[in-house]
Symmetry: C2
Subunit: 510 residues, 2 copies
């Protein structure tokens, strides 16, 4: 017995016979109602499943498998199949990101991930950045519909690929769970997302409910649940992540930091939950860096300086084409430890790899590839924003870093950057490293947890309900704190004893 959003049951009721004229549907329901998971529930047939009842019961001589999806209120029989097909029971969970969409094919019986796939979000053809898309669709129903269809196509293309690869018919899936930010959910549902980015930031909806997949043009017989959001910049992707991190199930206090296109932060436990969001992301992902690039083949993703030489690693071991987020964090950490960049983030013009290019100092981190002083300044401002969010939030709650038992750094960024480098540049606090946890794609993990446990829906709703949302931008104090955090690792170096020790050790080595 699973407690997920879909169920498959093999049944073999008696067929009709002399003196027994019970309708077919009653025969099927009678068997299902005997099962503990459906006791006291109401089950209905989808029109499609109902239409197949005659053919299926005859084909299998009343040996049949019933697929049920949960529509948010009750169970719906979405498909009937002859014979026992319960061993083939899959559900889908999705991280619907602005840039890419990740989808997992989950075995609903074992809870294991059978396959995972991801691809760019087809919305990209309407603009790589989200604002371009929003303005494209604003007040233009045809354009909005294009974006809606593109979103649905992104999902159905991934389903097609998973179907082919795994030789399963995914139209039979009865459940899909989607975690996406507020704008992505607006586009999925066909809602104009201008409100998400425009004062007073009142989204059209934050509680998208459960929809028949067909109504969203997703080629599946079952239902789609989208994680609810808390606010325009704190969407279902973060709520899903917080469920994944178990923040409200924990007695100890946890920090959840997600750095993607934006930065989102939550601090809490079973008792309380405070969250906020800020524009922390693009710079960290290499967005504003002149030779920055996404983590793709040819991107410098690891940097170290040994014996005065910069050593790099590139994704796919290809010729370096640019630098991605994890490479930047490594590079800045190494520049600082090596003394090529000072606490203010200024390049040391005497260092061997530092050159004057077009009137600006820059470090040549790979042959012909430069990281400029202005890139560093920009990047440090952004890392300051991220770390200040943490500092500021702990302060208003009245906590210190010692109170934090687990510090989750979610998302692809958190997964790929080196914890040590993150601490050295002051992006992360200097806490015992085992408390710094990079769980991976928490949106997707939370979506999978939801898929396998309907009870998580209440957890998500309660989490949204109990969450206090603060807007960082609106606080004067915030900018002041941020300036201090722009230093490497921080103006107040006593906060970073392990970094100071490392700096000393490196100095002694030279």
């Amino acid at each position: 017995m699973n407690s997920g959003w879909s169920q498959k049951c093999f049944i073999n009721p008696e067929g009709p016979g002399p003196g027994d004229a019970l309708p077919d549907t009653d025969r099927i329901l009678r068997e299902l109602y005997q099962k503990t998971e459906f006791q006291g529930q109401r089950i209905r047939f989808s029109a499609g499943a109902l239409r197949s009842v005659s053919a299926v019961t005859r084909q299998g001589d009343w040996n049949l498998t019933v697929t049920l999806g949960f529509d948010g209120e009750q169970w719906v029989i979405t498909r009937l199949e002859p014979q026992d097909t319960t061993s083939c029971h899959y559900g889908l969970c999705v991280d619907l990101g602005s840039t890419s969409i990740a989808m997992q094919l989950v075995d609903m019986e074992t809870g294991t991930v059978k396959d995972e796939i991801s691809d760019f979000n087809p919305q990209i053809s309407y603009g790589t950045d989200i604002l371009t898309r929003i303005f494209y669709a604003k007040d233009q129903p045809d354009h909005l519909e294009e974006l809606r269809i593109a979103t649905a196509k992104g999902l159905s293309d991934l389903m097609d690929a998973l179907s082919r690869k795994n030789q399963v018919d995914l139209s039979a899936c009865a459940a899909m769970i989607i975690a996406g930010n507020t704008t992505m959910i607006h586009f999925l549902l066909g809602l104009d997302a201008f409100c998400v980015f425009h004062t007073p930031y009142a989204p059209h909806t934050l509680a998208p409910d459960v929809y028949p997949a067909a109504l969203l043009d997703i080629p599946m017989e079952g239902f789609v649940y989208c994680y609810p959001g808390k606010a325009n910049y704190l969407g279902g992707d973060i709520i899903s992540g917080l469920v994944a991190a178990g923040i409200t199930r924990s007695d100890e206090i946890r920090v959840f930091l997600d750095i993607g296109t934006n930065g989102e932060l939550a601090v809490g436990n079973r008792e309380f939950l405070v969250a906020g969001a800020g524009a922390a992301g693009p710079a960290l992902e290499g967005g504003v860096v002149r030779t920055g690039m996404r983590a793709a083949a040819g991107a410098v993703d690891q940097v170290s300086i040994r014996d005065g030489n910069i050593q790099i690693h590139t994704i796919g071991d290809e010729k370096a084409k640019g630098i991605c987020g994890s490479g930047i964090v490594d590079l800045l950490a190494e520049l600082f430890l090596e003394g090529w960049m000072d606490i203010r983030g200024k390049l040391n013009m005497d260092a061997e790899y530092v050159r004057l290019i077009d009137g600006e100092y820059a470090v040549e981190y790979a042959p012909g590839l430069y990281f400029y002083q202005s890139d560093i300044d920009e990047f440090l401002k952004t890392k300051a924003a991220a770390s200040t969010m943490v500092e500021y939030m702990l302060r208003i709650i009245g906590l210190t870093l010692e109170d934090i038992q687990e510090f989750y750094v979610a998302g692809a960024f958190g997964t790929h950057i080196s914890k040590e480098s993150g601490v050295v540049i002051g992006l992360y606090p200097d806490i015992p490293r085992e408390r710094l946890i990079s769980p991976g794609n928490t949106s997707l993990i939370g979506a999978r947890m939801m898929l396998l446990d309907r009870g998580k829906r209440d957890e998500a709703d309660r989490l949204v309900e109990q969450m206090d949302y603060i807007q960082f931008g609106s606080v004067d104090d915030f900018l002041h704190l941020m300036t201090a955090a722009t230093a490497v690792p921080h103006t107040d170096s006593t906060r970073y004893p392990s970094v100071m020790r490392k700096l000393e050790a490196r100095k002694n080595k030279r």
Copy 2:
């Protein structure tokens, strides 16, 4: 406040403003949840209504009207409209018959019928009789789909006609209630109906539930409820009729007799309910009569004999083309009272209008139109079947005619035939005439009552639950009783004192 299957509410929530970023959907729901009819309920948005939220709220400057349909479990917002449109709030109820479909446009606020329309069921092009259609669709999914689409088209054509005539957009309707026999509901849902007519008579379903209209190809944003049935030959049309007749709401015992293509009978009150069905119909409607016809222009619908002359009335006052059910009942009653036909139903060959045609006696009821002895024999067998159903059922329950407070004769047949003639030929029992009630199309009336009162759903379910269903055909005794009932009005003429008095009076007059 109405308690029907759809609601329209005018609301004017505050729009978003500085410091107030509540999502649009929450603003709308907050207003609705304040209304008593939605307290403690859960309301969700249809995908379509949700998509319109931005445009509608802006167009009406947050003055908007919400249409809600009941999906059987909860309320669904099916449409948003700018400004106050609550005065235009309609629902649809349908009698889905094998021959014709009748539809009423009901004002949900006043409960009045704004318009009514009917037309032939387009399934007729696949066979005028129901068995031909069933065999056409049997084991042929394409053919079954043709019949399903024809059924949906029948409904949508009537909607179109009502839309045009009344200048209302019926796609905005949030509720349609359908009463139909088991076969009609099977075809509506796309189910092979062979099971309905073939042993062991186990239908695919008798509890069709509530479906989004779109899934049934009915061009409406709301939901379709179909009355449940009790058995293959006792479908939702009869359950609807019984709700209309209030049989289970009555302290006194009522009889409900519906004579259509089949004959259905129920006897009961608040305490008990027994029902059964039999093949009583076609002959009574003129189906097996050589010059029989449906009640259309040119049909003889009233007959009397005055001073030895047959006087007729035709529908539309046109030249007589044939004779319909009410004409036949009148004709036989008058032939009997005039002494031109004896108690065994045999024509008196000495009577002026009786002629020998092709070796068979026949009465020339209109110039060149004959009603044959074999027609009479067939018709009397069928009237015997109908009246015996009543006699037999009262006997097994242990009741007499004196116990019956109200005797409903439902359907078009009951509406059009003369009560007096019905009693004279022994189709109806000889009870005080005010107890013989012809309420009209009870299927349609029951559908309208349901449309206006969701509470009737429980009544219908309980009615089906508490009903004891008996099969007349399977009883030996039945045939014996029927033979006695073939006489006019009955072998035991003491049961028909008023008819005997009338016979005496007429004799004295001659």
